[in-house]
């Protein structure tokens, strides 16, 4: 019996790691745009585009890696529309982001019939999954093996990206420029940093990440496309960015919490609880996290006012992350 519980818990951790990867990837994308001062609510739609075109590419060529490329290209192309509207035309990022989300839902539903000849959801048993990586020696070990090995290639990519972004943002001149664009665009421009160029770069990087996140959903976790299958994961990733204070390691930690909730949801659904209540769990926990973030920010503000010590470099995310009551145009 004890052994069974042990195995189950290892399975829960492994399930957490699988389910948290899309949120982490999208969250890292949202982090990069938050760092250049753009509140990117479009994560949800970009992920959905990624998920859809991953299946399109895989179904057409039989190659999941081609599907992955499709996903990234589609998400980047849509990101570029977003970039033109927000960076060059001075459009409202929130309204444009909502437009991306609606476009994603509408366009993927629209394209299902001509591309797959079905409505609602597309599933083909011959659809190949993304390669699952088995680490040579470690993979053979009893518990450690199932914890560290056997995940989709994107799981390892996501972890690597956390490290890359952490180093890039805080140890590399490019990262300093990116942060400067988010915190003081005028000052950054005055010393010759291309605000426009870096904003474009950030939005494109975000598109890549969201494309990967969508592909992980549709050709790795499952091998099918369902209308609206992201189901708010993009918004949850956005909350992960806030909770993680736009730090790669912070976003990693926040995504782990949400991934665990998704894993728990799966486990409880298997146990026969009312599926709707179980499915609510990730959203409720996300709302609870949002409230916790808000309370923490309030305390921090109060503390700052009391001690009058300047904000340490790199602690606070750019001001946009807290932008709540933004009036529409």
């Amino acid at each position: 019996m004890d052994a069974l519980v042990g195995v189950l818990d290892v399975a829960l951790v492994a399930s957490t790691i699988r389910l948290f990867t899309p949120i982490l990837l999208a969250g890292l994308g949202g982090l990069v745009t938050a760092r250049v001062g753009i509140f990117n609510i479009a994560l949800e739609g970009l992920m959905l585009f990624g998920a859809f075109f991953a299946v399109v590419g895989t179904a057409w060529t039989g190659q999941p890696l081609v599907g992955l490329v499709f996903a990234v290209v589609a998400a980047v192309l849509v990101s570029l529309i977003f970039a033109v509207v927000v960076v060059d035309l001075g459009g409202d990022a929130i309204v444009a982001g909502l437009a991306v989300n609606m476009l994603a839902l509408g366009a993927t539903t629209y394209l299902m019939l001509p591309l797959f000849g079905v409505e609602g959801s597309f599933y083909d048993p011959t659809l190949q999954r993304l390669p699952q990586v088995t680490i040579p020696v470690v993979g053979a070990m009893p518990i450690v093996g199932s914890l560290l090995s056997g995940y989709s290639i994107l799981v390892y990519v996501a972890f690597a990206l956390v490290v890359v972004l952490q180093v890039l943002l805080f140890r590399h001149p490019l990262g300093i420029r990116i942060r400067a664009v988010g915190e003081q665009p005028l000052a950054a421009a005055s010393v010759g940093v291309s605000v426009r160029g870096l904003r474009y770069l950030a939005i494109v990087v975000c598109g890549i990440m969201c494309g990967l996140a969508g592909a992980e959903l549709s050709i790795s976790l499952v091998t099918q496309f369902v209308i609206g299958m992201t189901a708010g994961r993009g918004f949850i990733a956005l909350v992960a960015v806030m909770f993680g204070r736009a730090h790669p390691l912070g976003v990693l930690a926040a995504s782990l919490i949400f991934g665990f909730m998704y894993a728990l949801t799966l486990r409880l659904q298997g146990a026969g609880s009312a599926p709707q209540f179980v499915a609510m769990l990730p959203y409720l926990v996300t709302i609870a996290v949002l409230v916790a973030v808000a309370i923490r920010q309030r305390r921090a503000q109060a503390n700052r006012a009391r001690t009058a010590i300047d904000d340490q470099a790199g602690i606070g995310p750019p001001a946009v992350v807290g932008s709540a009551g933004v009036p529409p145009p």
Binding site: G106, M112, A324, G325
Partner: protein, 358 residues
């Protein structure tokens, strides 16, 4: 105040900026739609022809358009109320769902009451449920500055699942179809049909009364002034003694109440029961959101935008029946409209500059 307003209305720059931008948005969107139609292997002229015929081609189709416009316009005006007060309410869908469910429940138990009591009671229940679901995030925003934008979005998913649970288990009509739904509401709690042979119901008067009531509130009452000031300039409003936190909660209560009413009218007038996934699946609240955005949160214009968007939806259904173009074309067109509206301020400045140079 009134005089200066009418003078500003006559300003050609303002008229051009206010009209040109939505028209340009729609034109660009339909151009994109034409590309999407070609991509689906059909003729844009034929498809758009079918769309217009489907929307207004016969009295029945006009009635169908009006019926669909009721929840869209009412929810749109509701969202516009919040936008004008600076509260970005993106939770219209959840508020509408819970409003509809509350109406279905209250109407369901009001079998013995006369219609003049049962109908207002059922609608009030829907408004109260919608308002409550909107006040919760507003309170969180005011108390601890939780961003309203995201929490209202997340609450939509919670509302969908909550309603789905209730209608699948405790409230389910066991004699009913495979889709989880409540029992049919009694006739005395249903809104009467106005024109035989159509589904046009009494709820259509809300399309006239709700925007007028909101306009009166905004322009002729102290509360309306305070709400508008809170939206236009919160610091100034607070400096002038307006309790802006209370205004945010009030605006969200009104907004959620109207979204709840939109759901209530859908149940009491059209569906006569709450059907699982029917409101989020129908896209009513988000179409209302687009209407409010298209009309720059003006309550009267929001209604016209709502009727127009409803006509597109109904027309698209006709188009999908008669051509190979899928219904969701209209979602793509609407998303394109919002893209252009996102740059509305830039566009308006551009137009104003052009005119000033002349």
């Amino acid at each position: 105040m009134i005089a200066s307003r009418s003078a500003r209305w006559l300003d050609p720059r303002r008229i051009l900026g206010g009209v040109l931008v939505p028209v340009l948005a729609l034109a660009l969107a339909f151009l994109l739609g034409a590309i999407a139609i070609v991509a689906a292997g059909a003729s844009p002229i034929e498809a758009y022809g079918e769309l217009i015929r489907g929307a207004v081609g016969s009295p029945q189709n006009v009635a169908a358009t009006l019926v669909r416009s009721i929840p869209i316009a009412v929810a749109g005006v509701g969202l516009a109320v919040a936008f004008r007060a600076g509260a970005f309410n993106l939770g219209g869908e959840g508020q509408m769902i819970l409003g509809a469910l509350a109406t279905a429940v209250v109407a369901g138990v009001s079998g013995g009451l006369p219609a003049v009591v049962a109908i207002p009671l059922a609608l009030a229940a829907g408004m109260a449920a919608g308002a409550a679901w909107a006040i919760l995030p507003a309170w969180l925003q005011v108390k601890v500055e939780v961003p309203l934008l995201i929490i209202t979005l997340l609450l939509n998913y919670v509302a969908i699942l909550l309603a789905s649970y209730l209608v699948t288990y405790p409230l389910r009509d066991l004699t009913g179809a495979a889709v989880p739904q409540t029992a049919t509401i009694p006739a005395n709690a249903s809104l009467p049909i106005l024109i035989g042979g159509t589904r046009l119901h009494l709820g259509v008067i809300a399309v006239v009364l709700v925007p007028l009531a909101v306009l009166w509130l905004q322009r002729r009452t102290v509360l309306g002034y305070e709400l508008r000031m809170t939206g236009a300039n919160p610091e100034f409003a607070a400096y002038g003694g307006i309790r802006t936190g209370r205004m945010t909660i009030t605006a969200m209560g009104l907004s959620g109440g109207l979204c709840g009413l939109a759901g209530a009218l859908l149940v009491a007038g059209l569906n006569h029961r709450f059907i699982d996934q029917s409101i989020n699946g129908g896209g009513y609240a988000w179409t209302g959101f687009i209407a409010a955005l298209l009309a720059a949160a003006n309550p009267i214009l929001t209604v016209f935008a709502g009727i127009f968007l409803a006509a597109l939806d109904v027309g698209a259904a006709g188009m999908a029946r008669n051509t190979d173009v899928p219904l969701q074309l209209i979602d793509v067109v609407q998303a394109a409209v919002i893209f252009v509206l996102a740059v509305r301020i830039t566009l308006r400045e551009f137009i104003a500059r052009r005119l000033a140079r002349r």
